[in-house]
Amino acid sequence: MDFQEFVENFANIWDDTDASVFTPETRFKELDEWSSLVALSIIAMADEEYEVVLKGDDIRNAQTVQDVYEVIQSRL
């Protein structure tokens, strides 16, 4: 799983946040656009791109983009 590609996929979910905002350390829940709908989009992206099913707690426990990457990576 390519990290750069993952960050691109992650950035594509957001409508009003520029892709350049996203780095491994980005605390995405602190962004203005963060909402429960974005959370569902992350779960859909993980399923579509990596065939990994994220649970609610995976999203609740993750703080940074790197955290989400690591959960998906661990289930591949």
Binding site: S35, L37, L40, D47, L54, K55, G56
Partner: protein, 352 residues
């Protein structure tokens, strides 16, 4: 694996009823600016229907049943089984199916039972009715499936209220030695029971004064403990994985290919999820009818409501193979492969 195959029972007709009162999603007051558009963009629910005060799920099912019985020309005394699938019951006791047996004017020689299931309920109810009738002793049966989610949820909870609508349906079944088999797959996972739960109001946590106090969980999310709590993320993860797997396993067991079937009728969870399920199964979009945009997620009623609204007029003139799939609280899910052979399918009924 929980498979079931039933012979000698045919679906003769399906009808559906909704209340006239409209829930317009863009006008709901709990959304932050711009939020309604985003929610509608994802779920595609623009509006739905809800009962007025004093109107019950059984009233909707009653209207659907009366129309269907009249259109088919059935004699009421011949109907010897009535299955009522809903979480919304008129009273704690007696059971609602008994009240409907009387109200519909069915004879006393009648098997009547309530099945308290939510979004998976249509598929389960169909298996209960068909199982009872397959030996041919009971020749005609009615399956009444509906929900008034508006009675179970908080109107101040933006995580659930914009999704759902109320509806009641009737399905007529008849013993027929020439009918194609009906086949099913079922699954249950009570470990995920808290994914959709009304915490207080059963015997585990009876209603107290505190149960009725509204608590603000976050802005736009206010509910009391008798009302539904939906763990959206876990339900979403479940819905894009387990239902398509159930459908695929039943199709494989029956030796059919989903894209070759005439219709795939999914529980109307939300449009985004259902599109993903259909895409996973490689089903052509024009063979996947929807009702969610105008009627919302009507829980157990959503499959028959979608059949009536989406493909009803066509079904009267064709013999179609359809895969049905219901999934929701429990967690509970199931699929059914059925034949709809020139069935009666009256237009959607609106109840004042």
């Amino acid at each position: 694996m929980a498979y079931l195959s039933i012979s000698n029972v045919a679906i003769r007709g399906i009808s559906a009823a909704v209340p006239t009162r409209v829930k317009e999603i863009k006008d709901l007051d709990f959304f932050a600016p711009g939020e309604a558009e985003k929610v509608i963009g994802l779920t595609k629910v623009e509006r739905s229907r809800m009962v007025r005060e004093g109107q019950c799920c059984s009233d909707l099912c009653y209207a659907a049943a009366e129309r269907l019985i009249a259109d088919m020309g059935w004699q009421k005394q011949d109907i010897e089984a009535l299955i009522y699938v809903s979480l919304s019951r008129d009273y704690l006791t007696p059971h609602t199916s008994a009240l409907l047996q009387h109200r519909l004017g069915l004879g006393k020689e009648c098997y009547a039972i309530d099945v308290p299931l939510a979004c998976s309920g249509y598929v389960y109810g169909l298996s209960v009715a068909a199982s009872l009738m397959q030996t041919g002793q009971i020749k005609k049966g009615l399956l009444l499936v509906g929900e008034t989610t508006s009675a179970l949820q908080s109107p101040h909870d933006k995580t659930i209220w914009p999704l759902h609508g109320d509806g009641g349906t009737a399905t007529a079944l008849e013993y027929d030695e020439h009918a194609d088999n009906m086949s099913f797959h079922f699954a249950t996972d009570g470990a995920r029971g808290d994914a959709i739960i009304n915490p207080d109001g059963g015997t585990r946590h009876p209603i107290t004064a505190e149960s009725l106090e509204y608590v603000e969980i976050e802005p736009g999310v206010k509910r009391n403990r008798t009302q539904s709590v939906l763990d959206g993320m876990n339900v979403f993860g479940f819905s894009i994985k387990d239902p398509p797997a159930s459908i695929a396993s039943l199709a494989a067991k029956e030796g059919v290919s989903v894209p070759d079937l005439d219709y795939l009728v999914l529980h109307q969870a939300n449009k985004y999820m259902d599109d993903k399920i259909a895409k996973k199964l490689k089903m052509a979009p024009e063979k996947v009818p929807f009702s969610i945009m105008q009627y919302g997620n009507t829980s157990s009623a959503s499959i028959p409501v979608t059949i009536v609204v989406g493909i009803g007029p066509k079904l009267e003139g064709e013999k179609a193979k359809a895969m049905l799939c219901g999934f929701g609280s429990g967690l509970s899910w199931g699929s059914a492969l059925v034949t709809l052979d020139h069935i009666k399918c009256p237009a959607l009924i609106e109840v004042e």
